[in-house]
């Protein structure tokens, strides 16, 4: 039977088990849209900006650990998608982005709405393709999904010229993908695993440091077992939050620039760091020379380039986090519990002392709402069970610090790229993936305006998301740096001129709530969370509240500015 390219594309997307795609039409993808109109079993969500489509696909992928799909047209559609692609690339999120392209005969002619999107996205995709013949279409799409989800996941872009979408072909199911140039290594080296067990037995002050890789490889159960079996406290990067239960006594809190005092001090004093699925970003390490100066470091990562990149590692393990941790746990079962726990009460006491003398803190008075208080109340009211997406800035850090994630896949944030405008479309994607979950975007007044148009998407598609705006009338995180390091010259960070968010919500057909008093925070939150439909809850918070602890950029992580 003959199919055209557009039909092949949709067949292949469905064959991957994808039920929802996010997109925006245009001339070069009109054939695909013509097919989408006839589809059952593949939901298309019409966004209001292509950046939103890609962030939504990203949020979808993170919420249910599948592959997200976005579809955009050529030229401006494709360039609008780039920020979303780069964000997913930074956080190793599997998405496949299909872009329309001008017909092959016109490529290179500066045709209407032609851009070299394969060239533009080469450095911010895991891989990308321009499909030049209908014969290659099905196998390329299959390969794209395979690359996106295997190994260290990442975004893959497939550029589809219009004539390919219109060409006819006798469809044949492509065979199994096997690439001679790409064979990710999942299986860790057994000798190295044995070494880790010996290192654990010798360690007096061990710490586990979990990153996004633990979430991606779905290894939080293994991390948790490892910690408990050997009494090892656990910290995580922003991307690793939820890998280990935030309510567990062994939990240290987040590490890094806005990490907890005890997490940063623990890394400063540990003699063994077991780092899993992390890439030692500068926001985590601060001054590299002073990072974990007394520690032997074990690093587990599926991507060999992450190892020895910016930190000297004593026991590198290339492989899947879950497989490696399973291997270590298996070897530990043969050991005596006492050998593993190795009399660590002193270390745990020390950590307890750091925790009790210097906890995360803020003072909620009776007049002005503290942003941390809003997040803490949100945590209580949702019993820690909501999927939280964030925008970028202080709102993101307060969400990370005060919403105690007990489970993986519940914290969806743009960590590597720090993309303002990520949270709302990502929340839409997450809710589309997990319709039974409560999904809340913790937002700043600046960031929410970067993709505010997606409110219409949420309302139209009946994808209920709850938006909590911590309105400090500033680009708060930049203001904080100006306060601390630029003599309080608040150059262009004032955001007093924002729209009326309640009216704005209403203009889009959503509900809007405003809260200005601490004693109303709880009731506004519960009213908003219980409302059926998309809601903006705006909280007028303390304008000049800052995020603490803070490690000044480039400083040692044990030298923190505290409240």
């Amino acid at each position: 039977m003959k199919f055209n390219g557009a039909q092949v594309l949709i067949k292949m997307i469905k064959a991957e088990g994808i039920d929802t795609i996010f997109g925006y039409p245009g001339g070069c993808v009109i054939d695909i849209y013509d097919e989408l109109a006839k589809q059952e079993g593949l939901r298309h969500i019409l966004v209001r900006h292509e950046q939103g489509a890609v962030h939504a696909a990203d949020g979808y992928a993170r919420a249910n650990r599948s592959v997200g799909v976005a579809l955009v047209t050529s030229g401006p559609g494709a360039t609008n998608a780039v920020t979303g692609i780069a964000s997913a690339h930074s956080d190793s999120i599997p998405i496949v982005v299909f872009t329309g392209q001008v017909p092959t005969a016109l490529i290179g002619n500066d045709a209407f709405q032609e851009v070299d999107i394969v060239g533009i996205t080469r450095p911010c995709t895991k891989h990308n393709y321009l499909v030049k013949s209908i014969d290659k279409l099905a196998s390329t799409i299959k390969e794209a999904f395979y690359l996106a989800r295997s190994g260290r996941p990442g975004p893959v872009l497939v550029d589809l010229p219009k004539n390919i979408l219109q060409a006819q072909i006798d469809f044949e199911e492509p065979g199994k993908i096997s690439l001679k140039s790409y064979k990710p290594n999942y299986k860790p080296n057994k000798k190295q695993l044995n070494k880790v067990v010996e290192m654990i037995k010798k360690a007096k002050r061990p710490v586990i440091f979990a990153g996004g890789g633990v979430i991606v490889s779905q290894a939080s159960e293994q991390i948790t077992r490892l910690a408990k079996m050997a009494d090892i406290p656990v910290t995580a990067s922003l991307m690793g939050l939820g890998a280990f239960p935030g309510s567990d006594p062994l939990w240290l809190g987040m590490l890094g620039m806005h990490g907890t005092y005890r997490a940063n001090m623990s890394i400063g004093h540990c003699d063994l760091m077991i780092a899993a699925g992390v890439r030692f970003d500068d926001r985590v390490t601060g001054n590299i020379e002073k990072f974990a100066p007394t520690a032997k470091i074990v690093q587990i990562d599926i991507d060999p380039t992450s190892i020895h990149k910016n930190i000297e590692v004593h026991c590198p393990i290339v492989g899947d986090c879950k497989a490696a941790l399973e291997g270590i746990l298996h070897l530990m079962e043969d050991q005596k519990t006492d050998d593993l726990k190795n009399n660590r009460p002193q270390w745990l006491d020390q950590i307890e002392e750091w925790k009790s003398t210097t906890p995360l803190k803020y003072n909620q008075g009776s007049e002005v709402i503290k942003p941390q208080f809003v997040v803490e109340k949100l945590y209580e009211l949702t019993k820690g069970d909501a999927i939280i997406t964030t925008e970028v800035g202080q709102n993101q850090m307060w969400a990370a610090q005060y919403y105690h994630f007990n489970k993986p896949n519940h914290f969806i944030t743009s960590g590597g790229l720090g993309t303002m405008g990520f949270g709302l479309p990502a929340a839409i994607g997450a809710k589309a993936a997990c319709p039974d979950k409560l999904v809340v975007d913790v937002a700043g007044d600046g960031s929410i305006q970067m993709n505010i148009q997606e409110l219409m998407t949420a309302v139209e598609s009946k994808i209920d998301v709850k938006i909590v705006i911590l309105n400090n009338q500033y680009l708060g995180m930049v203001r904080q740096w100006q306060e601390l390091f630029y003599e309080k010259v608040y150059s262009f960070t004032n955001m007093e001129n924002t729209p009326d968010f309640v009216k704005l919500a209403e203009a889009y057909g959503a509900k809007g709530l405003r809260c200005t008093r601490p004693d109303e925070v709880e009731s506004v939150l519960s009213q908003g969370l219980n409302h059926e439909g998309t809601v903006i809850m705006e909280f007028a918070v303390d304008k000049e509240e800052s995020v603490y602890p803070m490690v000044p950029a480039g400083g040692s992580i044990t030298e923190m500015l505290l409240v």
Partner: protein, 165 residues
């Protein structure tokens, strides 16, 4: 840059449009240097060989090799630097051939077993094939006679049969 070494990499890649641009983009994006580069097909269809000389600090070469390998179209990355290999580079050197210098030039050509491939009234063009050491030597000998211009390929290399040095 402090303490840089020269490394010779032999890279097999899918013979596909855009592969060279992926490699060049990786080097420019991450601040690595390419000293010389040569690309051509191999006996296997769909596979090309890239021979590259890169100068960097010893800690960096590991990242370069791993990053190259991470590119989906790169099949293998072979670091020949510490192995036994044969290396060749081809150059065409056009020198001033004043009557009183002709004998000197011909002597150099003879000693280095080069060829004269073009003769003009006042110049010779010499073809040199050899490793980079030979190239440097011949260039320094011809320089006093007046080199007009040089065209040179990048290095190409293959490992010898019996592996390590």
């Amino acid at each position: 840059m402090m303490n840089t070494n020269s490394y010779l990499l032999s890279i097999l890649v899918d013979d596909e449009p855009g592969v060279l641009s992926r490699i060049a983009g990786l080097f420019s994006g991450r601040g690595f240097n390419i000293d010389s580069l040569s690309v051509a097909s191999t006996a296997e269809p769909d596979v090309s060989r890239i021979t590259m000389v890169t100068k960097c600090e010893p800690q960096i070469i590991d990242q370069i090799k791993k990053q190259l390998h991470k590119l989906i179209n790169v099949i293998t990355v072979n670091d020949l630097t510490d192995k036994k290999y044969v290396q060749r580079q081809l150059a065409l050197i056009k020198v001033n051939a004043q009557p009183e210098k002709k004998a000197d030039i011909l002597r150099v050509v003879d000693i280095f077993r080069c060829k004269i491939v073009d003769v003009g009234l006042s110049h010779y063009t010499i073809e040199v094939s050899g490793d980079s050491g030979k190239h440097d030597a011949i260039v320094s000998l011809l320089k006093p006679m007046g080199i007009i211009e040089i065209a040179s390929t990048g290095s190409i290399a293959l490992a010898r049969e019996n592996g390590k040095k």
